[in-house]
């Protein structure tokens, strides 16, 4: 018979990536499930995906622009700066959060059926990605309506989206594994996201950090380069962007990704014993 498998301790290595590929339909179906379940039994439904970023932006503008009198990059309207930051940050924080809890959320599957476990974190990204697309369109509409105009740099957006995905996957996988064993992680993640919101240049520009003594530490955060770069794509050269930071961001995210995949693979067969 053509289909032969061998089960032994640590023996699922050989066909793993093939299995993952064979199960791509399942990946698609799990993603579709998450998306279609998202707004079931809500009054506003999909409108929430539009309302949330707009409301966040409104509050940011009120607090930081009107009350705290913070200014963005010269020549860029503050609301646009905030909205662009929120767009990419929300994509990161959503996917990161969802990946981190993906194993626990699907624990009924983990204990009852086999498929490469990597499918769960991968499929959990779908919802965040749809939200991102919606916010992105809102941003485009906003920019055009406000008369600011779009930059040609926009063609680089996919690169930054992919980089963001890599980073969220890199960190998310790591937390997903820990979360299975230690439920403390579930408590920690909202906190990380909250802190991240302030230490990343979302409501302000990285220009303010330039020349400060903590600049080099600040830029170690891989999200900083991404947010700056994403803004530069959308709002053009007036936005602050240090291409140098992209190098460390890329290296750091790739290393994290590889390490966390190795870690995930090493632990995935023990998930069921801890759920």
């Amino acid at each position: 018979m053509k289909h032969t498998i061998t089960i032994k301790a640590g023996g699922s290595e050989k066909d793993y990536w093939k299995d993952l590929w064979l199960n791509r339909q399942l990946l698609w179906i799990l993603s579709k499930r998450d998306i279609s379940v998202r707004y079931k039994q809500t009054l506003l439904g999909l409108a929430w995906s539009v309302l949330r970023p707009l409301m966040t932006m409104g509050i940011m503008v009120f607090v930081f622009s009107l009350v705290a009198k913070l200014e963005g990059d010269p020549g860029i309207p503050y609301p646009l700066m905030v909205l662009s930051g929120i767009t990419i940050w929300t994509f990161f924080s959503n996917t990161f959060t969802q990946i981190s809890s993906s194993i626990l959320i699907n624990s009924n599957l983990v204990s009852k059926v086999y498929f490469p476990r990597l499918l769960m974190p991968l499929s959990s990204v779908a919802v965040g990605f749809v939200d991102f697309l919606i916010t992105f369109v809102i941003f485009l509409v906003f920019t055009v309506v406000s008369g600011y105009g779009l930059s040609w740099n926009i063609i680089f957006v996919p690169a930054f989206v992919i980089l963001t995905f890599f980073i969220s996957l890199g960190f998310g996988l790591f937390f997903a594994v820990l979360n299975v064993r230690f439920r403390d992680i579930g408590q920690l993640i909202p906190f990380i996201v909250q802190v991240g919101f302030y230490i990343c240049p979302i409501a302000y520009t990285s220009r303010l950090v330039e020349g400060q003594w903590f600049e080099s530490i600040y830029k170690l955060n891989p999200i900083v380069g991404i947010i700056d770069g994403f803004r530069w794509c959308l709002l053009g050269d007036k936005a602050y962007f240090d291409p140098q930071s992209l190098i460390s961001t890329t290296i750091l995210s790739l290393i994290t990704l590889v390490l966390s995949i190795v870690y995930f693979r090493k632990k995935e067969n023990t998930f069921v014993d801890h759920i």
């Binding site: 289909h3 032969t4 032994k8 009852k112 498929f115 067969n269």
Partner: protein
Amino acid sequence: MSVIVAENISKKYIIDHQRKSGTPSLRDVVSDTLGKVFPGKNKQDDFAEKEEFWALKDVSFRIEQGDRIGIVGHNGAGKSTLLKILSRITEPSTGQIKINGRIASLLEVGTGFHPELTGRENIFLNGAILGMSKTEIKQSFDAIVDFAGVEKFLDTPVKRYSSGMYVRLGFAIAAHLNPEILIVDEVLAVGDTEFQKKSLGKMRDVSESGRTLIFVSHNLTAIQALCNKSFYFEKGRLVDQGDTTHIVTNYLSQVSHKSLEKHWDDINHAPGNDQVRIKSFKVVPEFQDNLSHIDVRTPIDFRFEFWNMEEGANLNLSLHLYTFTGECIFNVGTQSESFGKGLVTGTCHIPGNFLNDGSYVVSMMIVKDTSTVLYNMEEALVFDIEDYRENVTWYGKWPGYIRPQLNFSIRQTEHLVND
């Protein structure tokens, strides 16, 4: 041709004894169960921080193509662990298994059903989770809907389904899998009579088409109806394998001699106190028809002996019968009588065809002056009653704590005349 060859499979769990809170860990489950069966036995373990627990130990077997294998054994014998390893949900600690052929396992009905999604969406979701391709699901879609009988509710979220519909849909999807090897765990015990018949028939079809079936169940009647060979597991070991009839008989005779008797010969070490001490307490089945195990037909006597140490004490005896999960089925007591010093004996008779199948726990209480409990022997005996049915084509768990045969008759009182 061998489709599954297992060599020296073992599965080890580390039981962490320090864990005190949170979700019940394996350790809690294991020690709770042990504590019920062997009270006081695992006390010194509390000091150990970690302990190894072998859910499976050195299990080897071969399964040929077209075999229908039944797996029997007590709770905790390793049946579920084996299924989990075969389904690749967990890895063995040592040993290896070679599997030739596409394998599908059904450890639960409706795995991954999402309550908010409709029946239609869930068919695709569940099918994909069980390893069917979209094309395969589309091909069997109508058959699945038809088998489950949910046409009218296809576009209703499954959270609005009755539990019967939910289970039927789940089984229907699984039944239309086309694996070369099918693993099924205790799913027959659901659904109504008609559906049970359908699903059992479906499983028979699977095996008759030359595919291999591995079936775990506590329901020996279903195993006998379905499987040609069986494995008998005990404490993580495969203790016997072979022809189903032989294995089932063997298993049943083992089951029935579990903890049917307790006795103490030395009055000074017998449980009790200054007023009464227990000499013996046992379950005595009246086996009929050369049976060597207790089934629902078997009459049972509870026999007890105790020493009374107080002259002229007014004593009566009270028995509590509990299910294994702790619900009290009944409490019976004797009349209160005055006894002199010495041995007192008695018998309580439970007729056949009265209790349902299951595991039972008996507690015995000696009461003075109908109000003061002198001594209470909790969980004194544990025994199992096996299922037995005649002329019934339904194999689900018989509902209820008791299963009495009552005078219950039906007759025709009028004929409709067609003209």
